[in-house]
């Protein structure tokens, strides 16, 4: 490919050796015929290694001056073949793969996967397990939105919200660690229950976080919501109409910013979401600013849900009491032979699933996160498919960015809240 840069002859000052200005001696500027650059288009390649692409995303842009004429996204740089790997693993062995996809909200992925498996197998988890999973999912919604808030602010030029948001995220990392022993790769769920119950004092730590956290949210709110630069960079940028948003497959806060009140928690409720009091924030302009407002409000609503869920949390078993699904306790395994064999059989053969398939959507932090499972009756899936919300949301970026400035492309990309681990899988 020919290089498309303008070439200059560079002269070096013989005395200082430091002057790199273009050589004036060759052609005097006034002698030059003005090149017709009005119609000249330029190819700009952003990524795959670029901080503003939030991962290994590559955008090939055609520019007219500073205006984006066309954007062609290239993905797949992080493709790990998780779906193929899943076909070689038993139902429970897939759980660690799920949190490596959306490492910004790992617990939502852990829960979404096992919920789909339980739907396929017809397992009803215990009451305590439902509430615990709901708490984890709402906590990770805040966790993911905080990262989105910080990184988007930094893309617009505001550094402080990034630090504030990451300070709060650190507290959720600590909660992750207390529950699972890992900060990011949590793998907290199992088919029919959880890896472990909540540790002592965990709910109090979460309550402390919830009490403190709105203060930071208000601070960020006061820094951004009425900030002239923030408004100037986001209002009217990347607008999409409600009809187009649905047709393009937008889900989550991106869709709701356009004014479509579709939220899986309300429309296809799971885990008794219909009994919790919470509002689904709706935007009206469908631009980057409304997406910002929706996510800010969603964090506050998630906090309300979390308080209600913490009040509902009752003592009781966390795993279903079905020996075909749940493992015996570690103590039993070490002490009697039957439990040992039971453990061995479950681990080696996997949990048998009925023949059939199942699509189970939940409201992830980025949109509708669907898990589709097809089973032929064995201990492993025939097909495990993730309906990745960021993948579909990102596919709209050419339409959103065309006609905007190059700098707006960065804001639009940030406002979609993508995570490349999930897009490439």
């Amino acid at each position: 490919m020919a290089q498309k840069t303008v070439e200059f002859e560079v002269s070096r000052n013989p005395e200082t050796g430091m002057d790199f200005r273009p050589a004036q001696a060759l052609v005097h500027p006034t002698d030059l015929e003005e090149p017709d650059i009005g119609s000249e288009r330029m190819l700009i390649n952003i990524g795959p290694q670029h901080p503003a692409t939030h991962g290994v995303l590559r955008l090939v842009c055609e520019l007219d001056g500073e205006t984006v004429v066309r954007v062609i996204p290239h993905i797949g740089y992080l493709h790990s073949g998780f779906e193929k790997l899943g076909e070689y693993r038993t139902w429970n062995q897939i759980v660690p793969l799920t949190d490596r996809m959306d490492y910004l909200a790992p617990l939502i992925y852990n829960c979404a996967y096992v919920m789909a498996v339980e739907k396929l197998m017809g397992i009803e988890v215990t009451e305590r397990c439902k509430v615990v999973r709901l708490i984890l999912m709402e906590m990770d919604r805040i966790f993911s939105h905080l990262l989105w808030l910080g990184t988007t602010a930094i893309d617009i030029g505001a550094f402080t919200p990034f630090l504030y948001a990451f300070h709060q995220r650190e507290k959720i990392y600590t909660l992750h660690e207390a529950l699972t022993g890992a900060r990011i790769t949590t793998s907290a769920t199992r088919v029919g229950g959880m890896m472990a119950d909540l540790p002592e004092g965990w709910t109090d730590a979460l309550r402390d976080f919830l009490d403190e956290f709105p203060k930071t949210l208000d601070e960020i709110d006061s820094l951004l919501t009425a900030n002239a630069i923030h408004i100037g960079r986001t209002q009217g940028v990347g607008v999409i109409s409600p009809e187009d948003a649905v047709n393009c497959g937008f889900t989550g806060p991106n869709l709701r910013a356009s004014g479509v009140p579709y939220d899986v928690r309300k429309d296809q409720p799971y885990y008794d979401y219909e009994t919790y009091r919470f509002e689904v924030p709706i935007g009206e302009h469908g631009d980057c600013y409304d997406r910002y407002l929706c996510r800010m409000e969603e964090m506050r609503q998630s906090r309300q849900i979390l308080y209600q869920a913490l009040d509902r949390l009752q003592d009781g078993p966390i795993n279903v009491e079905d020996p075909n699904i749940s493992l015996p306790s570690k103590t039993d395994c070490m002490n009697d032979m039957e439990s040992m064999i039971h453990h061995f059989k479950l681990i080696t053969d996997g949990i048998p699933a009925p023949v059939g398939d199942c699509y189970f959507p939940i409201e992830g932090s980025k949109g509708e996160l669907g898990m589709y499972l097809a089973s032929d009756g064995g201990g492993k899936p025939v097909r495990w498919r993730i309906r990745p919300p960021s993948f579909v949301n990102l596919s709209v970026i050419p339409q959103l960015a065309e006609g905007h400035m190059l700098s707006d492309l960065i804001v639009i990309n940030a406002s979609l809240d993508i995570v490349l681990g999930e897009i490439d899988r």
Binding site: A2, Q3, K4, V6, E7, F8, E9, L26, V27, L32, R41, M42, V60, E62, I72, I75, G76, H79, G81, K84, L85, Y88, K119, L120, M121, G122, V246, N247, C248, G249, Y262, D267, E321, P323, N324, S326, D332, D336, E338, S339, I341, H342, K345, P352, P354, V355, G356, D357, C358, E368, G370, Y372, A374, D376, G377, R383, R387, V392, S395, Q399
Partner: protein
């Protein structure tokens, strides 16, 4: 077993239950699905609706004739009684053993708050179906992914290129059951190909056409410049081919 004991020997002896119908009343639902769209579809399209089943308790799956899939999906989207305006997902399923590859559409109606799953079965030697990008724009990338990973061709798709795998990937379609977990080529061959990558392959033709001819200021001597990308490539020392062992393919 029913006393909830975790160490019961019966449970172990029973082992993993057989894969066929379990003692699971919800999954073993033999009765046909009760879904308003199903009756309407049968009225409208008759023989093009091949089969319907209920899975996972309450989910309705409709198998349709692939040659009529576009008309059926268009009707499901536009008819006032259906209005499936949101295409949640398009994906493929390969069961292996020469069985047909399924293309699966997950539909959701924001108007009637209903979900429906539509499946088309394609014979492995005729993996072609009409694209629905003109109905739902979201199908653009989703269909590209099915093409990339299963090799299903979507007629009428505006831009059917590979999406997750590289454009010049030659090992086939990764999610097909006949595709080994670690790929078709040996590690040595895969490394050799990776090292031999051509910069031009990072761009496809529409991108290379952007911006027209390169602009060179007069007097800057652009003509004499040698294009670095056209320079002869240094040969890569041949790597000894190692046949993939059997253990390579099984994880």
């Amino acid at each position: 077993m029913s006393d909830g004991s975790f160490s019961g020997f019966e449970a172990v002896a029973a082992g993993p239950a057989p894969s066929e119908p379990l003692e699971n009343p919800r999954a073993a639902a033999a009765e046909p699905p009760d879904h308003p769209s199903l009756y309407a579809l049968e009225d409208h399209f008759g023989k093009a609706i091949l089969e319907a089943e209920r899975t996972a308790g309450d989910q309705c799956v409709v198998y349709v004739d692939p040659s009529k899939s576009y008309e059926i999906l268009e009707w499901l989207k536009d008819d006032a009684s259906q209005r499936y305006d949101f295409l949640a997902d398009v994906t493929g399923v390969d069961f292996g053993g020469g069985r047909p590859v399924q293309v699966v559409y997950q539909l959701w109606s924001n108007v009637h708050k209903r979900a429906l799953r539509v499946k088309c079965e394609l014979a492995t030697d005729a993996l072609e179906i009409r694209s629905v990008v003109s109905l739902w724009q979201t199908a653009d990338w989703l269909e590209r992914e099915v093409f990339d990973l299963f090799g299903v061709r979507f007629d009428g798709h505006p831009d059917l290129r590979r999406i997750l795998m590289p454009e010049d990937y030659e090992e086939g379609y990764p999610l097909r059951k006949d595709f080994p977990l670690r790929g078709r080529f040996s590690r040595a061959e895969q490394t050799r190909r990776a090292l031999r990558q051509d910069v031009d392959h990072y761009y496809f033709q529409a991108e290379l056409d952007m911006g027209g001819e390169p602009m060179v200021l007069p007097g800057a001597g652009g003509e004499a410049e040698e294009n670095v990308f056209d320079a002869p490539r240094t040969e890569i020392a041949p790597v000894t081919e190692e046949a993939p062992s059997a253990s390579d393919e099984e994880e």
